[in-house]
Symmetry: C2
Subunit: 348 residues, 2 copies
Amino acid sequence: MSEVKVIIWGLGAMGGGIAKLLAEKEGIKITGAIAGRAEKSGKDLGEVLNLNRNLNVAVSADYEKTIKETEADIVLLATDSFLKNVFPQIKLIVESGKNCITIAEEMAYPHTVDEKLASEIDELAKENKVSVLGTGINPGFVLDTLIITLTGAQRSVKKIKAARINDLSPFGTTVMKTQGVGTTPEEFKKGIADGSIVGHIGFKQSITMIADSIGIEIDEVIETREPIISNTYRETPYIKVEPGMVAGCRHIGYGMKNGEAVITLEHPQQIYPSVENIDTGDYIWLEGDPDLNLSIKPETPGGIGTIATAVNMIPHVINSAPGLVTMKDLPIPRALMGDVAKLIKAGR
Amino acid sequence: MSEVKVIIWGLGAMGGGIAKLLAEKEGIKITGAIAGRAEKSGKDLGEVLNLNRNLNVAVSADYEKTIKETEADIVLLATDSFLKNVFPQIKLIVESGKNCITIAEEMAYPHTVDEKLASEIDELAKENKVSVLGTGINPGFVLDTLIITLTGAQRSVKKIKAARINDLSPFGTTVMKTQGVGTTPEEFKKGIADGSIVGHIGFKQSITMIADSIGIEIDEVIETREPIISNTYRETPYIKVEPGMVAGCRHIGYGMKNGEAVITLEHPQQIYPSVENIDTGDYIWLEGDPDLNLSIKPETPGGIGTIATAVNMIPHVINSAPGLVTMKDLPIPRALMGDVAKLIKAGR
């Protein structure tokens, strides 16, 4: 293969970042770009991405025409977090004979959300001899792939605990709202109840992927979401948090067996944790033989990490046997610093 | 498959540890055991391993008969560090139609040692429809697999530095000699020159595997071995080190490009580094976009880690397409806590 042809679907913060990275990689040619917003339609992708050059790809809002009529080996899909919303998009991609990588969080391990839809994606992919992967920094890397990989050095695993402690202050109003930043404790409670405050999407995926990978049984995944009450005044360009108000959401997922948590994943997300002496970082504590304690400080950046992971998995997905695949099924991830086209095996 | 049948070849510290772990795993049946030492021959493997039970496997020193006449899916080979020494053993294993995992360090990426022998293993494996993998904690995991995996979250990689800082004090006389512990600086220099002090085996493998995986070019791998001169008195059951004498070997491997080190792997190995306030640990510093700093403290244990890694890769190797494979080619590693036989795909 002389070049890998890629369509980018979704040009928001993540999709736009993916498109920029695709444009930098050797051996990758962007052949199509789909925007959700009509006002981007007709412009050159380079202009939409604020690059100082044209990419000779006209952005289109007509996703059906673009997917069906554009030649491409793979589509990178960055439109939504939820399986039911990306399912028709993935169906269109797969039925047009194209592989797919999506950063939809629920797609990291979709049978935990909807067994029937996940099976349908798998069957459609096999029929059309293509592969579909959900990935990203989390779910997809820090709280699942990295944990599973580290257990590879253990004779046995007893309990798994991990935490991803990050700083939400660079994010905009949407994230502030979905994490409950700037609410009162009462408003936070109400937001959790009505679903407007969601916390992290992906605990069920990550916990089930870990359990399935290493062969431990869990009865259920439980999630708790608590407000992180600030003791200090914190302010970003988008939000002000007075002492006593909510600086973020302490979201914890538990993989339970016989009433005991065998897998505990914590993802407390708040603005400026440093003001209360909390270090950001990714932490993995494996209890077993041996115990292993891993940390990445500061944490793997969320946005950059999601963009990187999605792009870096392109060769593995194209080379994979057809079907719905997950990070646990594919070779170890890696950065792409050479000619990406040369990594594609013949015969697919 | 109802059980995975395994032969263990080599019953030293590592091979014995592998055998013990195999005996604990569900879905694995040890069908043969080969000892280098004739005095172990004829005894039950359980007795040789100092278990309180028989394993109903007679240890044999007749490796040819055991490999040829024992039914097994895979052989775990723990006899030697060097490609040229394990080559005839791997040939025998593969020609008898059995898969192979070896902890021979040079086999982690054997074409860096001898292109011809590595190609021959690959061809023999393909002819006999089996797979061969070299792995272990290092090379095989800490200073290659884990580094490659972490670059998966990077948009680009500029430089890689990593260090594995461990404590040699639990080891015996052989390790003391090959690392130069307890020598004078002059004796150390002489030992390096005459090859009796070797330091770590695996830098060439790990550095080349990283470079090939992420697609960066290196011109050559350079290695330096310096004595770690002790400022304090240190003593183990096997060795005494006076101030001014050598406590270990600071071995560094550099992957060079245009005269610059783009990959630097350090593995200073000494007894009791803590007496001079050196923390043991595995450290990875990735320079790029983004920078990432990972640490595992204390370090992943060497012996346990090698035993675990070798056993944990059994399903991946049996499921792999035939040929010589390396850690970069296989799915992400993981602990085996369930029925191992259930992980073997049909059709191999």
